[in-house]
Symmetry: C2
Subunit: 338 residues, 2 copies
Amino acid sequence: MSNPVLVEILRGEHVESAHRGAIAVCDGAGKLLVEIGDVSQPVFPRSAVKAIQALPLVESGAADAFGFGDRELALACASHKGESAHVDLAASMLARIGLDETALECGAHWPLAHEATVVLARSGRSPSQLHNNCSGKHSGFLCACRHMNLAHQGYVSFEHPYQATIREVMKNVTGAPHDADNSATDGCSIPTYAIPISSLALGFARLATGQGLSTARAKAAKRLVAACMAEPFLVSGSQAADLALMQAAPGSIFVKTGAEGVYCAALPELGLGIALKCDDGAGRAAEAMVAAVLAMLLKSDEALSERLAVLARPAVPSRKGEPVGRVQPTEAISGQLT
Amino acid sequence: MSNPVLVEILRGEHVESAHRGAIAVCDGAGKLLVEIGDVSQPVFPRSAVKAIQALPLVESGAADAFGFGDRELALACASHKGESAHVDLAASMLARIGLDETALECGAHWPLAHEATVVLARSGRSPSQLHNNCSGKHSGFLCACRHMNLAHQGYVSFEHPYQATIREVMKNVTGAPHDADNSATDGCSIPTYAIPISSLALGFARLATGQGLSTARAKAAKRLVAACMAEPFLVSGSQAADLALMQAAPGSIFVKTGAEGVYCAALPELGLGIALKCDDGAGRAAEAMVAAVLAMLLKSDEALSERLAVLARPAVPSRKGEPVGRVQPTEAISGQLT
């Protein structure tokens, strides 16, 4: 059994590479509306669930205590590209609790935005942990720990009480188990838990609708999703797929990428949650898959659907920038819901 | 029908992503000794066939006329990382025919070696076409054009007589058709032709053995393969998989990567050619596949086979550099030839 090919990479008119995957679309009541491939397959959502992981920051009252608005909440849900706006805002969040970059436990890496790497290198500096694409999430964790009177050292470990809090929230929102058996360590050193794609889609449908959540949690979810849609650059960065997708329909689409080919999305107006995984972990394919699914789900708005379909089919350029191929979602996606 | 999973990516002890592919191993007489997946599938070899594309440089007498030794021939077969040794040598090859970087038609891009990008940015400069990973191949093309009295302008186009020469050589060595119907444009703007994986393996078995080739071509092939094995850094670059694999058994293993998950290899002592393609185009998986196949084929040398098996199973690190997973070839490879 293998998942279907969902995205092909064409060079000229020939298929050069192909990406398989699975996609689930769910409503707030838990009804699966679209099921492509094996959606019961457990996947590590990685960074795709940062908005769920940020719920305790809001629910605990920490976000209000520290005066966080859309910008800070968006950054707490971000996989950013290490651009100056991201780095400076993360530093300012830490400054509000008297901490700095050294309190982060995510590790340092060069900015994901190539231009930011060039600027940083030209300035003679090296990247700090603030450039880590997860620094906003970690800064949010540290602020919540401070507000909850939890010692922040070791906040990334499975045993730390804040990670236990996140586990409980993830279990509640997705309905899937989160424990040592299905956990591993994410790139930024926090635990990540392999759960079914269908559970992820349900979790995002609940974020979109509030259904199945306590009043306080539903309110926090609404606030976080709205913050991300209001500040899509802070959630992602220059030339990010997430930025282009959220800008295609401001306030109507929330998408969040995760490493290794994961995407989750919420459509508040339609009350839908979406989750997908490209089997081989390719980001280029996951981006095309989520754009193609959104184009299909939103086809009642023809202009929007066409903008999304264009985003699902980017050109493959030569080193001179000339198009020599293209990314192409297959009918396994577009043939759904016809 | 789908190709088998050949490489898994583990996070903790869970499979996070999986890569499918096909592998052919062939001897100089054209006998397929290993056949995993669909080896009749046409694939674009991309940069994996640079050593075949460099044959006219040697056969025409150009290499001797310009005094090229192992270093220049290795660079003519290279997908290098834009490090200073690569850039300077490409410039010196062009200088021998009175040309410079502006004659190249490959396009510019930042060095593939991150450290080289940082050094270049710190110096306040931007990349030139000499930093293009294909600049050595293109410099070799220009030298051969000069020696053969061909106008060099437009040397990358399908219609240029030098590309016609390369087509004829590719046809002869691989036995597969090369024409407009199966062509597309490579990242460096020259034509690339989709041919069966088994034909690629045969081509590399012929490079390894000289069987099926004219005496002059067999001699040129032997010289190019020896040059690459003598100068593996120039063929690749710092931390390249090709460098590590060729250094594992100096003079016994020739490997060459191609974009979108292709690898070709020649084992002169065993008289074997190897070709493989990862379906989804992932380099990390293709590197593990070729290392695993080499470990299997060379298992009579236990120490070497173990070094190769280690290269086939690199750790997946966190951003702090701690291992949080690993790359793992499957039994679909190791179970062959038991």
